[in-house]
Amino acid sequence: MGYKLKKIINKAENVVEEMLHGMALANPALIHSEGLGVISRKEKASKVGVVSGGGSGHEPAHAGYVGKGMLDAAVAGNVFSSPDPERILEGIHQANGGKGILLVLKNYSGDFMNFTMAADLSGMDGIDVEHVIVKDDVAVEDSTYSTGRRGIAGTVLVHKIAGARAEEGGSLLEVKAAAEKAIQNLRSMGMSMSACTIPMIGKPGFVLGEDEMEIGMGIHGEPGINRTKIKSAKEIAKILLDKILDDYEASGIEMKNSEVALLVNGLGATPLMELYILNGEVHAYLAEKGIRIYKSLVGNYMTALEMAGCSLSLLKLDEELKKLLDAPSEVPGFSVSYGAVKTCVK
């Protein structure tokens, strides 16, 4: 096998380490703990450390969100596979500013077991560790890798909220509370139009017909709700938003006249052109529903290797969440149409 795959790689078994190496070279504010899959901030701060991570293949997640105002460390496992506790301990260690650590997990059983194991182990070392679990994907109740809902792209907004709260000096419990609030108010759903290939496996994980898309597919290619013929951007926006809005309603969260942050996320191979077209449709549909978009982020935030497709995330905002969302951040991945235009404006 090796590089006969149609990918710009060297050896399939080395992709994660080589990626993180290349990433740290491009970002002088970051350091790479070699062999341990961890990217962390070079400049350490005496504040609550926010750590996230999970399988690789979702770039820029998670390492792309390390930096001032977001994560202090990101821990990468192999492609689509949880990092082990040893790596997570390294992440905790790198992020430790003496004020405790918040772990932001996506709800996958492997991640859950490995992160909580690491939390237990570092508890023994006297580090205060708390965790929150993002389950934003309203598509399916249980999934290939999760008991309960999956965590997907909306997680990036939780990184932003938790990171901003930590940056402004919140205590561990305050940072955790901000993250929990974001999680409570977050809903996402995606769709996919093509498969992706894990380098070590070398062939696509599933096959979609030439004119098919799958609604609700997960970011590892886990099955969604149903397969249909490809639909227009307008219809896709409606399908995803209807399910998201129904879910808010089912949880008793009133959305009419509320303000939201919108994340239009690309899964990897979908051109920005299409994401912007979709953004236009989402704006139109939410306007119809009386929901105001406070900020929209459009780009590749949490990908699935070279999968074509997208996800939409909404985060219902209150004044605290708005302030945290608007707080400055300096990270490689959180910027397209946002960091630059809004966050960096002082």
């Binding site: 082990d84 040893e86 059983s109 492997g110 077991m113 909580t116 890798y145 008991t147 099955p223």
Partner: protein
């Protein structure tokens, strides 16, 4: 009458377990491909390969250190779900072995119980969920029963081994609940759970090794 496993014995067991696992690659991979994501054998095999390489070091350690080392290594080298589950199991079992020179009948029971407990609490699964627990749990239950009955060590070890093997076999008719989608639950029906099978391999090899050590 009785057996006493030293840290050297345990290192030897690790070598034998590696062989058994390593030989069954295609079979285990096909089981995980049918019900999971197909990597279980590759994960486990790389963990045991590393342990096999370390066996020379392991045999010089105390049992406590040996189990902790095995746990850390499994955790980080196996990776995925089963790595952390085995890691938790060994780190928990190590606690039993603090200050112990050997694993005899009673300690072996405690070790296996501690492992079972650690796996169940880490993974939040119960017997019957079609996981590795379905081999270990009946083995531990059988162990307890044998001790209550007061059977000979040889008979105990034989019966516990059989319980582990039968347990793995019984996963064939279980629906997968943990680590799988509900709509895929039936997918597992008719297939053995790969993690249960590899758990039964390890128990089989360990109990056989202990059988060889029983002084008659």
């Amino acid at each position: 009458m009785g057996f006493q496993l030293t840290s050297k014995d345990y290192a030897e067991y690790i070598r034998l377990a590696y062989q058994k696992i390593h030989e069954n690659g295609d079979y285990i991979t096909s089981l995980d491909a049918a019900t999971g994501d197909g990597d279980h054998w590759a994960n486990l095999d790389s963990g045991f390969r590393r342990l096999n390489e370390m066996a020379g070091d392991l045999e010089t350690m105390s049992l406590f250190d040996e189990f902790r080392q095995i746990g850390r290594t499994m955790m980080s080298v196996i990776g995925g779900s089963s790595g952390v589950l085995y890691g938790s199991a060994y780190l928990e079992a190590a606690k039993i072995l603090e200050d112990k020179e050997t694993i005899a009948n009673r300690e072996l029971y405690q070790v296996l119980s501690a492992m079972l407990e650690a796996i169940m609490s880490r993974g939040n699964a119960k017997p019957g969920c079609k996981t590795m627990i379905d081999s270990l749990y009946p083995a531990v239950e059988c162990y307890k029963a044998c001790m209550a009955e007061g059977v000979s060590d040889t008979e105990l070890l034989e019966r516990v081994k059989q319980a582990a093997l039968d347990g793995a076999e019984n996963t064939r008719n279980m629906e997968a609940i943990k680590g799988r989608a509900s709509y895929q639950r039936e997918k597992g029906l008719g297939n053995l759970d790969p993690g249960a099978v590899t758990m039964s391999y390890q128990l089989e090899i360990l109990l056989n090794y202990a059988l060889g050590k029983v002084e008659r």
